[in-house]
């Protein structure tokens, strides 16, 4: 079980992920609505894992991923994006993402992916 930071610009998605992760026994360390806030919250909360939306205002998910990796190279980040943006996978993986979730997603699979990434 881990302490997780949820990053997404929509409240609905954050609430959904929060519920899924909470049902899997994880603790929600915090939430962020954009990339800049995600980096700040990461420094402050030191979560075990971050779920990171890709398309966000101010700083996008890939930039935030790179910024967090620069602070903590061991950071576990699972990218989370909409269908049709799967071509971002390679860029995200190259930049250090440990996993990738495509919206819409199903709770058991999200929990499985989080568990796998936390085990790394």
């Amino acid at each position: 079980m881990g302490k997780i930071l949820i990053v997404d610009d929509t409240l609905f998605m954050r609430t959904l992920l929060k519920n899924i992760l909470f049902s899997g026994g994880h603790t929600i360390a915090g939430e962020a609505g954009d990339g800049e806030e995600a980096v700040a919250k990461y420094k402050e909360l030191k979560p075990d894992l971050v779920t990171m939306d890709v398309v966000m205002p101010k700083m996008n998910g890939i930039e935030a991923l790179k910024a967090i990796k620069a602070i903590d190279p061991g950071a576990r980040i699972v990218m989370c994006t909409a269908v049709g943006q799967e071509q971002m996978v390679k860029l995200a993986i190259k930049s250090g993402a440990k996993g990738y979730i495509v919206k819409p997603f199903q709770a058991p699979k999200v929990l499985e992916e989080v568990k796998n990434v936390l085990a790394t």
């Binding site: 979730i101 495509v102 058991p108």
Partner: protein, 269 residues
């Protein structure tokens, strides 16, 4: 012709036969006494380890063959290679995404995509995967990074044992468009015209997709039970969902209240 043990449904009973397998046909011995040319096969489907073959000559006949996986794999490969179907050489990745999670070990496999009446088959050197048309949720042209280049692929979303699975097909662009159009035509029964949901209804549908129950949905969206019931009715009417559980909400009667009062008294005394 090689002979293998199998079972075939005949007059609503499974009978054991020695199934003959040749290069272009199979032979069904007595009491069926029939040879089936692969090119006469109009449809191939699979339910668990039963292969369902529809043969069209002057009439349509359906054969159900049950055998071990190894025999069925040989049969499927031979039939799908010659049956009456839309067929093209392609690379496929199936599954590529399961339940929204990218499968890291998924790799492109060289083979063919065979579209028959009832389904889409991915036929590779080691596996044959059948996606029944009725299980197809979406077909889209999308881009995928292939050897460092954003490349057009066809994505087929389908439901498999309650999980949403995405498979990808990669082939030359000219063929890809033909395949896309053909798949769209094959699955035109899933046209979504007239299926429109407004904001909250859509959020409810998304939460159902993610596996949330009614209690979680009410809490997450902060909506009363009655409103959720009305949205469920709308979703059911549109054929977007099925009822799986009916939850009962009850209220204690006077007798029930008396029981609890007595029970509490006996615990505190």
């Amino acid at each position: 012709m090689k002979e293998v043990p199998a079972k075939i449904e005949h007059n609503n009973q499974w009978i054991v036969i020695k199934l003959g397998i040749g290069d272009d046909r199979i032979a069904l011995p007595a009491p069926i006494n029939q040879e089936i040319l692969f090119k006469a096969v109009a449809d191939v489907a699979e339910r668990k380890n039963i292969l369902i073959i529809t043969v069209k000559t002057d009439k349509e006949t359906v054969y159900k063959i049950l055998s071990v996986e190894k025999v069925l794999a040989v049969l499927k490969k031979l039939i799908l290679g010659s049956c009456n179907a839309y067929r093209l050489m392609a690379y496929f990745m199936s599954p590529a995404i399961r339940g929204g999670v990218m499968i890291k070990e998924a790799a492109w496999e060289k083979g063919s995509v065979v579209v028959v009446q009832s389904g889409i088959w991915f036929v590779g050197a080691t596996k044959q995967i059948c996606v029944p048309v009725t299980d197809v949720a979406a077909i889209e042209l999308t881009k995928r990074d292939v050897q460092g280049k954003a490349t057009e692929v066809v994505r087929i979303d389908h439901v498999e044992s309650g999980e949403v699975v995405s498979s990808l097909v990669l082939c030359p662009l000219s063929t890809l468009q033909v395949l896309y159009n053909f798949l769209k035509e094959t699955t035109k029964g899933m046209d979504m015209k007239g299926t429109e949901l407004d904001g909250v209804d859509q959020q409810v549908a998304m939460l159902i997709y993610s596996g949330m129950d009614s209690h979680a949905i009410e809490n997450m969206l902060n909506i009363p039970h009655k409103q959720l019931d009305a949205i469920y009715d709308k979703i059911l009417k549109l054929g977007l969902a099925d009822v799986v559980t009916i939850r009962r909400e009850v209220q204690l009667t006077t007798k029930g209240v008396r029981y609890i009062s007595d029970a509490t008294k006996s615990q505190t005394n």
